[in-house]
Amino acid sequence: MLSNIFTVSFFVSLFASTIRLATPILLPALGQIYTQRAGILNLSVEGMMTIGAVAGFTAAFYSGNLWLGILTGMVFGMLYSSLMAILSVTLRANQVIAGTALNILGAGLAVFFYRVIFGIQSLPPQVESFQMLKISVLSDIPIIGVILFQHNIIVYLAFLMVILTWFILEKTTFGLKIKAVGENPKAADSKGISVNKYRYFAILIGGLYAGAAGAFMSIGYLNIFTESIIGGRGFIAVAVVIFARFLPIRAMWGALLFGLASALQLRLQALGIGVPNQLMLMLPYALTIIALVLASKKAEFPSAYALPYSRKER
């Protein structure tokens, strides 16, 4: 019985969808690596992604251009994250409360404008998604080719971003400054680095990535927008960053792990296996807790993690 289910083709489609499902976690996680490294715990990733999803969907729907959709998602994600920047950096508010507020507001705004723009329809409006981009030669390799090289372009770009993020953080002055304002903002300040400016950058970059990931969900994966489209992926991304100890490569593995959990749930559900669907749906969330349990004790948080900065305080 089991051997009938766990065939080669099962694993091929499982791993291929693992990669696809890792993408909307990997993208925001990479963005949050910047943000958290700079010392800001931005819990409003969920809200930023929902905003990105609705903005991207609307743009793609009316223009018919998916790239414009992704771009719009990114811009709106970034604009929305600027609220977090104002609250946490300029006003030095409690980051947990600010993040929670922005999640509630983000969900409200996204659904409000979706309803206003599209009204209530019996069938949800759809967009045509990105075509699968088979990479020549490589995609013809049996098994590996199907798993790795038959995805839409956003998936490839997301994984390329891992290397770019690593490079920027480790090899550039910009990355060094981002890390410095999270590690010792006073020191950075005394060395002539504007703490607020770099924290703003780090938050806005986080918004950019989250917006892209939201748009990916609505126009690169589901092709529709729903109220619960993000489904906790924003929070999972925050957890992945901690799990990855703020390192891009590890974040990629973390995202893949969650991709695998979601893919497993979908595949097994499709096969109609005995485990109730609701219990399978818990899997990614339970996994998040387990990942946090395993990683948190060892994680070396940036010294100024979740702490606002002001020159006056000594």
Binding site: L43, A93, N94, G108, F112, P276, Y285, T288, V293, S296
Partner: protein, 353 residues
């Protein structure tokens, strides 16, 4: 004494100012959508206070919301960001219904047992997050939130599976609890039940709770872990304890909703109460009386918002937007140093002279 009075009055005025500001921004957003904000707010107000029945409905919503917000406030006061009130509400409901349906206890014992079960369910669920924090240093914001999702799917699993009403034509819900277990209504024709007294009693209990040594220890934890340890209070114990108290209150909230309104488990019983409880707790300044007042306001917003959605083209989400805006304005208000700004302006004026 008078000092305290003016202070409270000031706080109330500030709160009202915050709400007005949020409603104004909400009005701008509504007009963006091509609707009339005046119409929207009128229909909202009418929806909440337009008839006795509607007003009673506001009080019905207020019962679980106030209790949940009190639970949330306990954790927040200790600087523990328990944002999993929804999950704790659900687990409390599940535990309570479970013993009521399957134990066969007579109401006189069964009712108190079901309350205790609800407290255990909610307390365990929050305590679990507290224990994970203490043991593994895992951020409670994320764990309580993940536990929400897990509770939601667990509830859905139960009502679609083992606890589904056998005689209910495959609807995803449990069977109804016996009449004798239901909280009595005040009058037929509306849903207001005696749970309103329970929530008022809990408000009073919480007033005394914050004057007790246990409340002292929880609030001390909110001042920092180092000073807590230094004072001879075990931080680890207090974290777990605080979370349990916070969660058991949400469990009771679930109990009032199930035994007073729904009479059974079904999907979506919390429908966003958790995030509203956070807003109510913050708006109420984490203070029991403040929470009672802000709980009333937000219940009215909730009931009025639902009516507004039915009567106009404006989506209910405007209620979420107003909630989010209110928290933002609250934190902005505490963050902005008005004194410094005033000084700066005064100084500039002097320069001009």
């Amino acid at each position: 004494m008078r000092n305290k009075l003016t202070k409270n009055l000031n706080q109330l005025l500030l709160a009202i100012g915050t709400i007005i500001l949020a409603l104004l921004v909400g009005a701008v957003i509504i007009s963006f959508s091509g609707n009339s904000p005046i119409e929207a707010y009128l229909s909202m107000f009418n929806g909440a206070f337009g008839s006795k029945q509607r007003f009673m409905e506001v009080l019905v919503k207020m019962i679980p919301l106030v209790i949940m917000a009190l639970g949330t406030s306990v954790a927040f006061k200790a600087n523990l960001w328990n944002i999993g009130a929804d999950g704790q509400f659900i687990m409390g409901s599940i535990f309570a219904i479970f013993v009521t349906i399957y134990s066969g206890l007579p109401p006189i014992i069964g009712i108190p047992v079901s309350i205790i079960a609800a407290m255990i369910g909610g307390g365990l669920w929050a305590g679990l997050a507290g224990w994970i924090k203490v043991k593994f240093n895992a951020n409670e914001v994320i764990t309580t939130l993940m536990l929400n999702y897990i509770a939601v799917y667990f509830l859905s699993f139960l009502v679609y599976g083992p606890m589904m009403d056998p005689g209910g034509s495959k609807m995803p819900q449990t069977k109804l609890i016996p009449d004798a277990f239901r909280l009595p209504l005040f009058e037929s024709g509306n849903r207001l039940h005696i749970g309103i007294f329970i929530s008022l009693i809990i408000v009073v209990i919480m007033i005394f709770f914050w004057k007790s040594t246990l409340g002292f220890k929880i609030a001390l934890l909110g001042q920092g872990e180092k000073v807590t340890t230094y004072s001879g209070v075990s931080v680890k114990k207090m974290i777990v304890f605080t979370m349990i108290i916070s969660g058991l209150l949400s469990g009771i909230a679930g109990w009032t909703e199930i035994y007073g309104v729904q009479y059974r488990l079904l999907e979506g019983i919390t429908s966003g109460y958790g995030s509203m409880a956070i807003v109510i707790a913050l708006m109420g300044g984490l203070n029991p009386v403040g929470i009672l007042i802000s709980g009333f306001f937000f219940s009215a917003l909730l009931v009025g918002g639902a009516t507004m959605q039915r009567m106009t083209d404006i989506p209910f989400s405007i209620v979420d937007i107003v909630q989010g805006l209110i928290i933002i304005f609250i934190i902005a208000r505490t963050a902005i140093n008005f004194k410094e700004i005033k000084n700066r302006i005064v100084r500039r004026m002097e320069h001009v002279k």
